[in-house]
């Protein structure tokens, strides 16, 4: 399965304030890209804009999945086109049981629905991969979950949906090192088995040890100022985002 996400010259903002300033980025099937940057650099705006959060508005540019522009689609249609966003702050949905919810989104995203028995097997296999207790399936979606539990629930939904393109927004924040490994395993599993494309948005290089990105991009003030391999992440780890080298090497530096 070939899938690409192609972002071209994307500018977007909120309430008249421009946050993303001409971002271009291409991700092919099976590739893992990391997007690093400090708080407020525009990383989450990129994620939310791509998923179609209506509080952000697109000013110009395009974002295509397999050649089809998704920016005019509603979030449902973007999900149907194969896009998945792991939220930094997932919503709590009271009274909705995880099991029936997961079955609903599975059946919506797959051509053939599974029988309850087969679906349960499928779900339990994914929960094992995430080292989640089966009792999670009887809880209400994210209600009263700890930060770490919410992140695992995001990963579980990802494994259930089997999306072509995955954006992980700060999936590693608030996780201990064991949990970071588990989350990384889940992402690697999807890349290996479904040849999915991944964009990992993170502050820290820590998770990249396990995800082994093919490319690392650095975002500053709504622009991608540097792209390279894993060495970029190591450099950031050592010198931080204020290092002058970033600015020097930035092609669009003013």
């Amino acid at each position: 399965m070939i899938s690409t996400l192609e972002i071209k010259n994307l500018s977007a903002g909120i309430e008249g304030k421009k946050i993303l300033k001409g971002v271009s980025l291409s991700i092919n099937s099976g590739e893992v890209h990391a997007l690093m940057g400090k708080n407020g650099s525009g990383k989450s705006t990129l994620a939310q804009t791509l998923m179609g959060n209506s509080i952000y508005s697109v000013i110009e540019g395009s974002a295509k999945i397999n050649g089809k522009d998704i920016l005019k689609l509603d979030p449902t249609e973007r999900a149907q086109a194969g896009l998945f966003l792991s939220f930094q702050h997932p919503s709590e949905i009271q009274g909705v049981k995880v099991y029936s919810y997961l079955r609903m989104i599975y059946n919506k995203s797959h051509e053939r629905p599974l029988s309850p028995k087969l679906f349960r097997d499928f779900m339990e296999e994914k929960m094992k991969l995430l080292e989640m207790d089966q009792s999670f399936s009887e809880r209400f979606l994210n209600e009263g979950f700890s930060g770490g539990e919410k992140k695992r629930m995001e990963m579980l939904q990802m494994l259930i949906l089997e999306p072509k393109i995955v954006i992980l927004d700060e999936v590693d924040s608030g996780l201990d090192i064991d949990a970071v490994k588990i989350v990384s395993n889940a992402v690697n599993y999807l890349v290996k088995n479904k040849n999915s494309s991944v964009l990992v948005i993170t502050h820290y290089a820590r998770i990249l040890k396990y995800l082994k990105p093919d490319f690392v991009h650095v975002m500053l003030n709504g622009e991608i100022v540097k792209t390279g391999g894993e060495e970029v992440a190591s450099h950031l780890e050592e010198y931080g985002y204020t290092d002058s080298e970033l600015k020097v090497s930035s092609p669009s530096n003013e």
Partner: protein
Amino acid sequence: MNKKNIKDIRDTYDTKYGFNMPEKSFLKAEKGLTEKIIEQISKSKNEPDWMIKFRLKAFEVFNSKKMPDWGADLSKIDFQDIYYYVKPTDTEKRTWEEVPEEIKNTFDRLGVPQAEREFLAGVKAQYDSEVAYSSLKNELEEEGVIFLSTDEALKKYPDLFREYFGKVVPAGDNKFSALNSAVWSGGSFVYIPKGVTVKRPLQAYFRINAQNMGQFERTLIIADEGSFAHYVEGCTAPVYSSNSLHAAVVEVIVKPGARFRYTTIQNWSDNVYNLVTKRARVEKDAIMEWVDGNLGSKVTMKYPSCYLVGENARGEVLSVAYASKGQHQDAGAKMIHAAPNTSSNIISKSVSLKGGRTSYRGLVDITPLAPKSKSRVECDALILDSDSATDTFPLMKINESGANVEHEATVSKVGEEKLFYLMSRGLSESEAMGLIVSGFIEPIVRELPMEYAVELNRLIELEMEGSVG
């Protein structure tokens, strides 16, 4: 349907289920209410003298009482434009073609079987159900449980009937209980003997006839000492009635140590004024639970109540109201604490959308007779759009200093954030909305029998389809 068919149904109902419709109905349907009509109603059913007197007395009370000046708007009710007694054959005059398209569509989408549809739409007077009722009936008979239509019970158990009828809700309680007392017909009579546990819910739906879902049904339930039972009435599918007034009375007596649950789901068509008086007398160590779902109707005014008259008595009301276009659901609960160490719990959930309005109206009265009593009230409202509204009128009368009373109320709107989250997982906006609404009322829905819970969630999904976009 011709006369012969009707007769067949009646006969098979009698042999199969042990009850039937009244044999003789000589009344011509006539609008409006007079003493003469009331006498005719009573005569057509061969009622004892005391019942005729009771009815006529109630009619006087009805005439003397003013319309309530609180609650929902009832000014459009024209008492002279209503049929007060419709004989079974008259109800069958409506044809399937006359049933509004909207209702038929909902039946389609819900997958209601044709036989049931005709009944719910008022085309057929009886719902000819082969369901488990007959086996249930045998079980019940062995235990000495009485489960009959109220009219039959009056004939078969006159003494038991007279001892309890009209005692918990006297005719003069309010204008609509007076009206019901004057013209009542149908409803259920249930007696659970001492110490008997009825495991399966008693379902009025299984033994239903037009009058059970009629306009003025009257239900009387006695749960004797130490007994346990669950009674379920109504259905989630819309019930079409061309009669615009539904004024029922439900009386429940829960004797010492007994526990009784009464579950109602109503979905009247949106022309109906649904004004129901439901009250339970709860004695020492007894528990009464009302589970009440109000989906349909134009106006509903309904406040199930518990009079906690014995030590340690406990009352509960779990209710959910759903108000869409043109609807006002004015519902709530009343808890009267009149004995020591009594407790009550009210959970009310309401959803308003497409311009609908929900009101919570509740009374918790802790009288000086009720030391060490406690009460907890939680009312939560969910509003789906800016055209819709909700309000709360909680009244607490606390006349006992040691009482422990809690009240919590929340009003929330469906957050954009939650919708976006669920849509990003591939659900449509209406599916996401449906999920949020189902989740909101889940604490009540989980108390319903399984088939009702499933149907209710399906109904909400359908409703959401038209509410967003």
